[in-house]
């Protein structure tokens, strides 16, 4: 009989894709996925520690199922992801009902799980073979797929926990990546997103632009996306590659984090605002219509009103297509967590609100400008509004809904944008 596993995923796309890998391994072990945690024999929390909030949420959800364990002795509870990596066996102290703890580099340890069912099993070792040893993947979507191209990060931004939880940068061999993408293409996948904490520093026999060129030749794939690019490593050859490769989408996520050089330096970002701006100009020059999105941290330790205003000015000058903005969150073990000028929650939230409302106007304006234009979307889902709508994303990663159900998933469709809203566009078949 097949065993059932429920998996709850927090955090970034990397984590979402890790969950697909976890499912890939478990599928081989005879597990099927369920959406009902109560029917599961194995419950996995794939956790995120990027911010305190995500961590609190996880602990609260973990606490809620404590009593299940006493009712169902066969239930195994596992903690994966970045909190697992960070806390290791400490998790057993905080939550004694947990059975397994494994880090993002140790997903392969789920092989032969039935043999390892002795209680309290922790694996958080550095895995030197992570880039070379590929795991099976059970993907959520048949149209879009994530493909990891590198693991870890060497940048040590002062606020960021990722280098501690995911280890040093390691690039997957290009042959393995190409083979995976070809396989995905054969199974009908239309869009792939290359994943890495810092894709620009991908380096094997190919550099990142070279990898894009190679993937661009694979038949069947219609779109190539990638996240995330570190601004300091965004090279001219990458800009050229986006400009000359038909499948590479005109969108780049380029986290700015702050508009103040003082803060950027304290963040250890390795660039000043002017350099960032130059890259934005170059991108827009070479790739007209490119969408640029960003991450912003509000209220970094020691951020003055002046620093904050520079971020606001930066948003106005650059006019991003969209941003993800968050309050600063001290992460244990990072340099920023130890800074002595951490701002009050109140100031942080005030600044975050200002950042978000400033950007909202810009996003809405940019979306309005698209009214009347023709865009290509990849039809993703049907179903909202009684199945009378389909949605898809433009190459610039904007969501478009159209009031028609005649289009099936996985098709590329030309639409005319009739309305630009804050969070999405409304289109009609062109």
């Amino acid at each position: 009989m097949t065993k059932k596993v429920y998996i709850r995923t927090f955090g970034c796309q990397m984590n979402v894709h890790d969950s697909e890998k976890i499912m890939g391994v478990l599928h081989k072990e005879g597990y099927e996925k369920t959406d009902d945690p109560r029917s599961a024999e194995l419950i996995i929390f794939n956790t995120c520690s990027i911010r305190q909030k995500a961590e609190q949420k996880f602990y609260s959800e973990l606490g809620k199922i404590k009593t299940w364990k006493t009712k169902k002795s066969a239930l195994t509870i596992a903690v994966a992801g970045c909190i697992a990596q960070q806390e290791g066996a400490n998790i057993f102290r905080k939550a004694p009902h947990v059975d397994l703890v494994f880090g993002p580099q140790n997903i392969h340890e789920l092989k032969h799980l039935h043999l390892k069912r002795q209680k309290r099993f922790t694996v958080t070792e550095d895995n030197p073979h992570i880039a070379e040893d590929d795991l099976p993947v059970r993907r959520e979507s048949g149209i879009k797929a994530w493909v990891t191209i590198m693991y870890g990060c060497n940048n040590f931004c002062s606020y960021c926990v990722v280098p501690y939880t995911r280890g040093r940068e390691r690039s997957r061999p290009s042959q393995n990546i190409l083979k995976e993408v070809k396989g995905l293409s054969d199974s009908g996948v239309k869009e792939i997103t290359l994943l890495g904490q810092n894709v620009n520093s991908y380096m094997t026999d190919l550099d990142f632009p070279g990898l894009l060129h190679a993937i661009n030749t694979i038949q069947g794939i219609g779109r190539i996306r990638f996240v995330t690019s570190h601004p300091k490593d965004l090279s001219d050859t990458l800009i050229d590659a986006i400009s000359e490769l038909n499948k590479v989408c005109e969108h780049i996520h380029l986290p700015l984090q702050s508009g103040s050089d003082t803060i950027l330096q304290r963040m250890n970002r390795g660039y000043v605002f002017k350099e960032y701006m130059k890259k934005v100009e170059k991108l827009r020059n070479k790739i007209p219509g490119i969408a640029i999105t960003s991450d912003i941290i509000a209220g970094f330790p020691g951020e003055s009103d002046e620093d904050h205003m520079q971020t606001i000015h930066a948003l106005k000058d650059i006019e991003f297509d969209g941003i993800f903005a968050f309050n600063f969150s001290p992460r244990p073990g990072t340099i920023a967590a130890g800074m002595d000028d951490i701002l009050s929650q109140h100031i942080q939230s005030e600044r975050l609100t200002e950042i978000l409302s400033c950007q909202e106007k810009i996003t809405e304006k940019k979306n309005k400008l698209l009214e009347g234009t023709i865009q290509e979307i990849l039809v993703e889902e049907k179903g909202r509004a009684n199945g009378q709508q389909v949605t898809g994303r433009t190459r610039t990663n904007k969501i478009v809904t159209i009031n028609s159900s005649d289009y099936s998933q996985g098709n590329f469709l030309k639409v005319r944008i009739v309305r630009g809203r804050l969070h999405s566009l409304e289109g009609e078949p062109a």
Binding site: N216, D240, E244, L245, N246
Partner: protein, 409 residues
Amino acid sequence: MKISVLTLGCKVNQSESTVIEGNLAENGHCLVSLSEYPDICIINTCTVTAKSDYQSRQLIRRALRNSQQVIVTGCYAELNREKILSMGETIQVIENQYKLNILSNGTKSTTFNYSTRARPYVKIQDGCNSACSYCIVPQARGKSRSVPVLDVIETIHNFENAGFHEVVLTGIHIGLYGYDLRYKVNLSDLLETILMKTKIKRVRVSSLEMNEINDKLLEIIFEPRICRHVHLPLQSGDDRILKLMNRNYTVSKYMDTVDQIIKRVPGIALGTDVVVGFPGESRREFYNTRKMLEDLPFSYFHIFPYSIRPNTRASQMPDQVAPDIRKERCSELERLKIAKKTTYSEMQIGRRLDIIIEEHDKQNASLGTSSNYLRVWVMGNRHPVRSLVPVVIAGRENTLLTGKPLQHN
């Protein structure tokens, strides 16, 4: 310095002259006509027929009279260096491969937004790997070489930013595009990239060989931003002659391809070239060509009397057709040529076409070209050159149409 650039021949040559002129202008030179007594005259010659050879020599002689110094480049110069040098002491010959940077040392630029045309040419490829038995071009231009995708995109961006609405992709054999690039691509990939990465309103694909037409390409040609226009050289409507020409297709295959195109993109402008009086072409074989031109839905065609080109296989063939018979057969096609064009033009009346304005007559009337390659007079006030004016076709005067603008005026 005052410099004059004179150009003969194909679109590639014309696009190269544009780049030469752009580079000269950027280097501070003043571009003038030959009648303004330039310091230097650059002549970009052609050798595709005996007539182009003659015109090239004629232009060189004229330049020698009006200009201090004469620089000759292009395909005629490539193959007749000594002959040209003997024409005058002030003559300098420059090979095709160095022509773009004549008198512009240091500027490496091959991409420009400079154009004297409202629908600028963008050279994407040079050279040819085919061996059509009558053709001298591979001798002068060598094997196929492609312009990198990035440079093509940048050139189009430049034109786009300068307010142009159409680019014409040109090359000696553009169906070979991309096979020689480090990252192999093909013409479909290039077109797709242009559609994705630029906002230019219209892209015209100049000439395609029928063996290079495939589903993917037809799919892209169907895109509204690609001009409704395919030029598909036929050369002869007789299988024996096609074989002697080394064209690698048969009449029936050509007809199938035309059929596919017409089915896929109804109303498309379809143009062709024919060579008349190829060695050994019988009267009956010529009629086969004429029949093809009659039967297929061509909107226009170009007629070339066969011209013997040195060191080509056809030049060694027996039974060369007498020049006056070649001429006679050409003139036999003239009437058909007008009839075909008229029929296609007639079909446009009442249709909506987008016209890119190219020139004005003395009365300030605007003349331009449509996506389906028709010349149209646009009514109303003077419309600026390069502007795109949507019109409804109101009538026809000979082979020219008149259009009434949809908005304004």
